[in-house]
Subunit: 210 residues, 2 copies
DNA sequence: TCAACAATAGACCGATCAGTCTATTTTTAT
DNA sequence: ATAAAAATAGACTGATCGGTCTATTGTTGA
């Protein structure tokens, strides 16, 4: 608990992070950020130079949240790797419960920016790789038979939980994701396919939709 | 296969749907839609009245895609309910493989609009409920012990697959989601918790992150 | 005390946006 | 063939945006 006054830089960063997620990046004007931060217009440009750089700084802080989870919070738990994987979903739940949770700034930013050749997507994918890599290390420790597939499954339900929580504005998505993670872990060493055969051939005929 | 020429209305709708997803809604100007549609400026306003109404029309077409899957494609398959659930992920994969797939317009729209008191979120949530309801009916047919939880799990991995496919631009997310769905279905009648106890208490201590 | 710096308010600029309007051409139906 | 309807190009408007600039006020450290 530092008693230090929040710096101008911090005030801008926090307001931008909140508004970019709550209202969208394009929809959030510089003026609104300045109002919420309680900071003068020129200060934004002396500290960050542009709205784009401010967004990059917001990306960094969001990535640091994830790195903090994987590099400090989860390793501090005295439990098995499998339990650490499940504990990740408790961290997600705490995140979703915050009053100013409005989705992941990476996902939201990608959603509202050009998907071909845009720096936003490149930055988001780079950070995503770093996060998935840490998740993969955790899965590796758990002794999964096919760690890559398990990692991809877990990454998918993490993203699903974030989006579900954003859209429904309900932190329960983390709990559902945790239950799903338990299913994945329970099936980790079982046979890779269902008793009944695949239906992928029967499905192919059913496609002519708009 | 109709040989009918595409109407002005359709051309606008298709261009808008593609651009809203590929580049974002705010980032897509009217002029760009008109260029891609090959349509005059005034035609947009005679047919739709405003950019907002055009977005609503795009929402309708995307919802109809889902309704077509649940109400026509999947019921047409001669297989068990469980297999129909899995077949949904094959439909998703076909969707992701389209060259102009850039995410779900509902998710993307929510991501870039105000999350408190905005019509965009309300419309998206309404359609989401209708889709989840159809998914729930399918799960009910499969004889799941706890159909509500299973439905929420499946809904979550569907959203996860869509976002993963959007961010990574890789249709393989549908396959991972299908494998996860198989895990969920396989665990459907098993005991609801892992052999080892929960770690939720041990996790609570690890939270002070930014 | 006073100079160097940081932050302030707010006018201002050029660009872009959604939407309107006019005048012209093309299509359609009879 | 011709009149009505639909679509066209493109100029135009008012509002908003990101970013710059000036002038003033606090704040800090020697």
């Amino acid at each position: 608990m530092k008693a230090t006054r929040k710096s101008t830089e911090e005030k801008l960063l926090l307001a931008a992070r909140r508004l970019f997620c709550r209202a969208g990046i394009h929809a959030t004007g510089i003026t609104r950020i300045l109002e919420e931060a309680g900071v003068a217009r020129a200060s934004l440009y002396t500290h960050y130079g542009s709205k784009e750089n401010l967004l990059k700084a917001v990306f960094d802080t969001e990535a640091n949240m994830w790195f903090h989870w994987f590099d400090l919070d989860l390793p501090g738990l005295e439990c098995s790797a499998r339990e650490r994987i499940l504990a990740l979903f408790d961290l997600l739940e705490k995140w979703f419960e915050k009053e100013d949770f409005f989705g992941c700034v990476f996902i939201n930013a990608v959603a509202e920016h050009e998907k071909d050749s845009a720096w936003v997507k490149d930055v988001a994918v780079t950070y995503r790789d770093q996060i998935i890599s840490r998740l993969g290390a955790l899965v590796g420790e758990s002794g999964a038979k096919d760690p890559d597939i398990v990692t991809q499954k877990l990454g998918l339900i993490i993203e699903g939980a974030i989006v579900t929580a954003m859209v429904t504005q309900n932190s329960q998505a983390a709990h559902i994701a945790r239950l799903t993670a338990e299913d994945i872990l329970r099936c980790m060493e079982c046979s890779p396919s269902l008793p009944e055969g695949s239906v992928s051939s029967a499905t192919a005929a059913a496609m002519e939709s708009a």
